[in-house]
């Protein structure tokens, strides 16, 4: 790791100011960024820690029926605090990495990084969440722009994530055996008048919505509704751990299981 300076602002405004420098970068839980720096693949000159900003911490519900999560809230906190209001999300958060990762890693860091096999992107897209930054509000449909690519601008920070609370939801995760990230993960959320299905880990284009399944499940929220559907393996990821066809299969199996387990 190369040497760097460390800033620990207490307000969003101070954080934004500290990020104006050329080689400054926000630091969430450091679960992605620090290993990258240790491998010398990243060498920011200033790290601006976001985890000491009270306005970016915590979980609450608002009048619009949304779960609002501070951008620097850890996975462990979400797992605990969303357990009764949004159990599907709490389950997702509780199955990210190991306890050390969950006690440090943050929702903002996960969404900013947009790893193609990360879990939170499936929940954000699967609920149609709003990603709030220091500058604007971005809908999930506009936010995710491909592997490791998002609508965020340089120096822009995620301050809050608002997820519409569904009637029932579940995230089915098939783990990549070594990293235990999502080899494929499917988030299904049932709302009053529609269903959303978002898939992570599978596509070369990052997290995506499975439109056919959404349509079928909006008609009938039962796993059989997707039994005759399939996703095209063409743009699925192929790597050491799984073929395109296998991932396409998991998309379907994961969707069916999520529907069965949704609560």
């Amino acid at each position: 790791m190369h040497n760097f300076d460390f800033a620990k602002p207490a307000t969003i405004a101070d954080a934004v100011a500290a990020l104006q420098g050329d080689e400054a970068q926000p630091l969430g839980g450091g679960q992605t960024l620090i290993p990258t720096m240790k491998q010398r693949l990243a060498a920011p000159e200033v790290l601006v820690s976001l985890t000491h900003i009270p306005d970016m911490q915590g979980v609450c519900t608002n009048d619009a029926g949304q779960l609002c999560i501070g951008g620097a809230t850890t996975h462990a906190t979400v797992a605990r605090e969303a357990a009764s209001s949004f159990p599907g999300l709490a389950h997702l958060a509780a199955h990210i990495g190991d306890p050390a990762v969950r006690n440090r890693g943050t929702i903002g860091g996960s969404l900013a990084n947009n790893d193609p096999s990360a879990c939170y992107p499936a929940a954000a897209l699967g609920t149609g969440a709003t990603i709030c930054t220091n500058l604007r509000e971005i809908t999930a449909d506009d936010y995710f722009q491909g592997m490791f690519d998002t609508a965020l601008d340089e120096g822009e920070i995620i301050t809050e994530v608002r997820l519409p609370i569904p009637q029932a939801a579940h995230y089915e995760k098939f783990v990549q055996p070594a990293s235990r990230f999502a080899l494929t993960g499917v988030f299904v959320a049932k709302y009053q008048d529609h269903v959303r299905v978002a898939v992570t880990g599978a596509s070369e284009n990052g997290v995506f919505r499975w439109a056919d399944a959404e349509a079928a499940l909006s008609q009938s929220f039962a796993s059989d509704a997707v039994a005759d559907l399939s996703v095209d393996p063409d743009h699925m990821i192929h790597d050491l751990h799984a073929s395109k066809e296998y991932r396409a299969n998991l998309v379907k199996v994961g969707t069916m299981r999520s529907v069965k387990k949704a609560k």
Binding site: F174, P177, S179, L240, H241
Partner: protein, 787 residues
Amino acid sequence: MPKDGGIGASTKRREDLRFLTGKGRYTDDINLHGQAYAYFLRSDIAHGTINSIDTSGAEAMPGVVRVFTASDFEGVGGIPCGWQITDRHGEVMQEPKHPVLAEGKVRHVGDPIAVVVAESLDQARDAAEAIDVDITELEPVLDMKAAVADGAPKVHDDLTSNLCYDWGFVEENRDAVDQAIKNAHHVTTLELTNNRLVANPMEPRVAVGDYSLATDEHTLYTTSQNPHVIRLLMGAFVLGIPEHKLRVVAPDVGGGFGTKIFHYAEEAFCTFAAKQLRRPVKWTCSRSEAFISDAHGRDHVTKIELAMDKDGMFLALRTDTYANMGAYLSTFAPSVPTWLHGTLMAGNYKTPLIYVNVKAVFTNTVPVDAYRGAGRPEATFQLERVVDKAAREMGIDPVELRRRNFITEFPYATPVAVEYDTGDYHATMDKLLDISNHAGFAARAADSKARGKLRGFGIAHYIEACGIAPSNLVGQLGARAGLYESATVRVNATGSISVMTGSHSHGQGHETSFAQVVSDMIGIDADQIDIVHGDTANTPMGMGTYGSRSLAVGGSAIVKATEKIISKARKIAAHLLEAAEADIELKDGAFTVAGTDKSVAWGDVTLAAYVPHNYPLEEIEPGLEETAFYDPANFTYPSGAYGCEVEVDPDTGKVDVVAFSAADDFGNIVNPMIVEGQVQGGLAQGIGQALLENCAYDENGQLLSGSYMDYTMPRADDVPMFKVDHSCITPCTHNPLGVKGCGEAGAIGSPPAVVNAVIDALQRAGHDVTHIDMPLSPDRVWAAMNR
């Protein structure tokens, strides 16, 4: 009744107190005054010609002491290979030079090109980034069969081809085997790979070199399973340092699994550089670096054919293997696919005719050498897989087919040059069927089915050759070393004992079990006995720990030395008791005149030896210290029956090992708890190989699984609660303890049991799947079901 001490007692491991409280002293805990840090610049290209290395930028960087390249090692030997194979045609193997630092060419990702020694590790690493290496990439040699085809690019330009050797065993059987296979009622054929593995000991390798100008003595602290072997190889063949000026110390070693047997370039480098720089030089391997610099294991591609008569009696066996050597010959690499593999192809069966062909091939990959089991897992896997496939093709129950062909009379001379001294394979099979509740399988399968899962049961019966090895025999087979073991038993004046052994624990608990043996023989408390190992300065020349040899060979040396001690002590006791030596009995730490109550305590005898006032000085010398070297008369042959039960998820192909039972015959047992731990660890590794671990290269020779993000180590939730039994005992007939060795068994017997179980589950569900290559990852199993 369980014993509370001595041989047979589950004595708690004394070393665990320091290991579990963070008080172990590992090589990386050694920091010498004034030490500098070495950082190895390694090739990120699999195969290329080095045009130039410009170190001037690096040399100007802060903290840099010196930058080394191959040109600094011109007067130094290459890293030697400890075994020479003679091929089918009577020619010796092709043996390329293995330079300490790459000369002219890089041959695998990880090949060291240069070393920066600096005041700190960060400075060394910064400077290494400033070294300018100009390399012309060459086509990498990766696929073994393509590597030996005409016109293939060569890993070593000065060799005639990429073929290290073409070994035939037993060559005289070749035609007879071909004939028997041609004429047989049925032949079962199986093509398979034995997946390449990375050993991944918990403690990465470390080397600290030191040199004293005052005494002209070199000291190397290193993570080694065998410090004397390193001293001999490095001193005699690489650096030209005589033994009395070279001390090798391996303190606590945090796991090895074979990969810490070998002599590595980093050890030679640190020893060499310490003298050049007149200051200690330390290298600590990072985990990422371990993936591309520790010798890998396995990596065989095999075709096996088993010929049977109409009753399923085995008539002949033929196997053809391509064995990957990687880019250079690691210390014992040539022996693994040959003598540690071919000699085990009879397994537990009376197959009269066997022929084994092995082509060892150089490729642009990390060198491959012994890894837990070394050759024997490869033999067992192919044999137990083909036997299972044969049972299905013949319509004979897999247990029954094995039983029909079991060897039942001992000693048994196999057609592949070894003689099994004892064993009872029906007994271990019976025990397995019992402890695994084989009879209740159908009910469990029905329960799985009700939950939408496919259940299968897989069996494997293994044999291995351990207690490595009779020196004269291995000498004939090409070993450039003897494989005896040594012990010095030093009894102190007040009766406490230090046992200096050439074996070296890297997690096996020698300090506990070796002390149990001596305690049992003399009848004093084990806490009066210390085991000293891991330092060439205070242990007799010994060959170290691998091949499940430490108790069988090292323990036997301790027994022999202790017998000499007892014999001398008895003479002293006879003198003190004024009785005839023949009448003296040793029991519970006291010498007694038989049939009387006259006795003298152990401590009084030992004191007399060192304060010889009343002592038979004209007959025996004072003091009480004896050394023994033990060279085994034969290998030992542990065997056992393993049963694996799996559930397969038909939607995802995910395999869960729901039960695993192991019934082993290890001969006599010194510490049942330690044995159980060894078996459990081996089973976890075997399940890891069967389901999870996959060291894979891409078409450019880049390691795809170069970190724990992609290389899947087995974790606690990947393995079931094991049922481990070692109550079937046929003692080894030729070592004094009657022990056989238990360190590798778990890793040898389990992979075929797991794969057989998965195939069983799929076939019961109507899938026409006869084989899946390891690791049986969910996508591979799913693909096999959906072909």
